[in-house]
Symmetry: C2
Amino acid sequence: MSLIWDDAFVTLSLEPHTNPWVIVRLKAPCKELSHLSVEENQRLFGYVLAVEKAMLEYFNPTKINVASFGNILPQVHWHVQARFAEDDYFPNSLWGAKVRESFVCEASIEEFVPFLRARLAH
Amino acid sequence: MSLIWDDAFVTLSLEPHTNPWVIVRLKAPCKELSHLSVEENQRLFGYVLAVEKAMLEYFNPTKINVASFGNILPQVHWHVQARFAEDDYFPNSLWGAKVRESFVCEASIEEFVPFLRARLAH
């Protein structure tokens, strides 16, 4: 898991996967989204949308998936994933059943990291 | 799937499942969350948070899970799910592997519908 971004409010990291997958973690200890203030949720969701927009532009994916579970780590964090019609799980979620093998993302996920970082810096 | 709420902006429905599971569907045709305006996303997410708060109060669950995929139906909608440490999938997502059997939610999911409806009406 490589760190993409770190500020006073959140950290963003890349989840190792065949699909582009970014995790946005809130730094303040908080279990449920509704425990945050409206402003905190908006600010946090702003990062999610920034990742989504960067993924749409960079990867031209079939769909973006976003989720906040926290069943194992009950600390607010968001998953943002770029999905492709030909990826190993599509149309299932990346937590669902694998339906094919050996998807390789056409655009470099590694090179997406500095691309996203530049977007977040603006 | 039973309808819980219907207004000019969204519909809310109950997904038939052993876990409490509500789907918040945007009425306007829109594929990705970032295609919505900031105000539309905030308004839509307000419904998600209202469902979460109602679930937390009514079911006292272990965790709330929220997700927006749209791989099969590429039209913006949110899933809001109450999770319990003893439910059939915990700690996996409800799209993941089943790890036990025959969970029965202690509080009535059916009776949650009018409870949530009353909350949304305020």
